[in-house]
């Protein structure tokens, strides 16, 4: 099957000599939910900018559903929907007009454009706001407007550059549900995000980019499997003794009711509970100290620095 996105040896240098991309290569398969992660300035937005023609590449090859952007960029663009990081619509235009006009730029006749605009504005909960000037929308609504605008020509590849930045938790969750549904219906999705929890919850495959280079390109399951250590925080029912030790585990007493336990690869959490039970310590709740992926991310990025 032809990949949804193929990037080969992609390079971007600016006039001042700064190399934003140093020959990255990656492939995103059709139907995938793919995360592109990296710290600020790593090259994520440059990569996305090249794919959707807002940035000119210095070298390399990009193909969208087999269509090379150097040979047929308009053909490739028809398959792409882009949701940028910054709001990039006319704040004085009405919500409905913004979506309908975008459809027009893709050659959709007015009646079909209006039909599609209604469909996606309804799905994203913006139909009631269709006659409102876009500047009157809240931040979350503006982000949803950009998603509706990106979907109006029904692209096969949707690229979202930090779509949930600055969005409240409830709105973020509903956006996740919408994107999961869209992906289940067959749309390939590429997401850049700073919320690693988001990548872990939504995406199947991942690439981590740092200093213009891909430092990791695999499945999220594989990444998590490679983690050697997890840290759990345990809330205890009764007051803890001054010193708590569990054989083969590193334990820290955080306060009178809280323990931090490191579980290495090969060890199980059941062993921890058995040992605590032997000491008469009862646990009321438990959580990860940090997002597992976040730890991996920090290790990879710091390792490459």
């Amino acid at each position: 099957m032809i990949p949804a996105l193929t990037i080969e040896n992609l390079r971007k240098s600016y006039g001042n000599g700064f190399e934003a991309l140093k020959g990255i290569s990656l492939e995103v398969q059709q139907g995938d939910f793919f995360a592109l992660l990296g710290p600020n300035g790593a090259g994520k937005s440059t990569t996305i900018g090249i794919i959707c023609s807002l940035v000119s590449k210095t070298g390399g090859r990009v193909a969208v559903y087999g269509t090379d952007i150097d040979q047929d960029f308009p053909g490739a663009k028809k398959n792409i929907g882009i949701v940028p990081q910054e709001f990039n619509f006319n704040m004085f235009e009405k919500v409905f007009d913004i979506v309908v006009n975008q459809a027009g730029y893709y050659g959709l006749p007015l009646p079909l454009a209006a039909e599609r605009a209604e469909k996606y504005l309804r799905e994203l909960g913006l139909w009631d706001k269709r006659d409102v000037a876009s500047r009157m929308l809240s931040g979350g609504m503006k982000r949803r407007l950009m998603i509706a605008r990106a979907l109006v020509h029904e692209p096969r590849l949707l690229i979202l550059d930090e779509p949930t930045a600055g969005v409240d938790i409830e709105m973020r969750r509903s956006m996740w549900d919408f994107l999961k549904k869209l992906n289940a219906e067959g749309t390939t999705i590429i997401l850049t995000t700073h919320y690693l929890e988001e990548a872990e919850a939504l995406c199947r495959n991942i690439a981590i980019i740092n200093h213009g280079e891909i430092v990791e390109h695999s499945s999220i399951k594989e990444l998590v499997r490679r983690l050697h250590r997890e840290v759990f925080i345990l809330d205890c029912v009764e007051s803890l003794p001054e010193v708590v030790s569990l054989e083969a585990f590193t334990v820290r007493r955080m306060d009178e009711h809280t323990l931090e336990v490191e579980v290495e690869k090969g060890q199980t959490i059941n062993q921890v509970f058995d040992l605590l039970d032997d000491r008469g310590i009862r646990i009321s709740s438990m959580r990860n100290r940090a997002n597992r992926l976040e730890e991996m991310f920090v290790n990879l990025v710091e390792g490459a620095a």
């Binding site: 807002l54 792409i80 893709y106 050659g107």
Partner: protein, 257 residues
């Protein structure tokens, strides 16, 4: 994109442009009507009555074609420069750049939007002028051709200005310091015959002289320059402006990183 899809994209841009200037008609259409009315009253009626005839016509009849052309030039230019720079400023131009719309359709959409405003203002100003004088049309074909070509040329010039502009000051510098002086020195208010030979020769370097005189020929049948040279010059400048604008779009200068 098929031709049909390109037509849809073109109409989308044009519709958006027309809606934009009609929505803010008090800023786009009304000022020209008021300014030109003042010109007609002051230069045509009050001062003109003391000047007497120029090239066989009353002063009012002589200045009307130039004033109509002045409205066309400024409106075609300012519509494109403000609209395209505005879309660059708020990044909504990216909506077009990420789409498969060909560059020539983008350019045509904005430029014809500017031309349509130039023509609409020309009609308004012409109607206003009828309150002050009787207008005849010497050659309708010349009138239509010169109005269309001139608004096309200055809409393209507005586009080039918008691409290079970095801030709102940059889009007012050219109209204020280049366009307005060229219009005033382009023979709107006087005949070249009144100038000393040296300044008459210098004036012929001003492209607005050809625009104003060609239009005056279409309306009154008189011109200080050859009508064919006028058409040739305007055609040449329009072609240069079109290809340069396409070059800017194709290379993504100031639009793509």
């Amino acid at each position: 994109m098929t031709l049909q899809e390109q037509y849809v994209a073109f109409m989308t841009i044009l519709r958006k442009e027309v809606k934009r200037y009609l929505r803010i008609w008090t800023q786009t259409l009304l000022p020209s009507a008021i300014t030109m009315s003042l010109y007609f009253v002051i230069f045509g009626s009050l001062i003109g009555s003391r000047i007497g005839e120029m090239d066989g016509f009353t002063y009012m009849q002589f200045v009307v074609p130039g004033l109509i052309m002045m409205a066309i030039v400024t409106n075609s230019y300012s519509n494109v420069v403000s609209s395209f720079f505005g879309s660059k400023f708020n990044h909504s131009v990216e909506e077009l750049l990420v789409s498969p719309t060909p560059n020539y359709v983008i350019l045509l959409g904005y430029v014809i939007g500017g031309v349509s405003r130039g023509l609409l203002v020309a009609i308004v100003v012409t109607l206003v002028s009828l309150f002050f004088t009787h207008l005849q049309i010497h050659n309708l074909l010349v009138v239509v051709a010169i109005v269309t070509m001139t608004s096309l040329l200055f809409a393209l010039a507005g586009f080039i200005n918008a691409v290079y502009a970095n801030n709102f000051d940059d889009i007012s510098i050219i109209p204020t310091f280049v366009l307005t002086p060229l219009i005033y020195l382009g023979g709107v208010f006087y005949s070249m015959d009144l100038l000393p030979p040296f300044w008459a020769a210098v004036s012929k370097l001003n492209p607005l002289v050809y625009v104003v005189n060609a239009f005056r020929y279409g309306v009154l049948g008189i011109s200080d320059v050859s009508i064919w040279i006028a058409f040739g010059m305007i055609g040449l400048f329009t072609a240069i402006a079109w290809f340069y604008s396409m070059h800017l779009l194709n290379t993504g200068k100031r639009l793509r990183q």
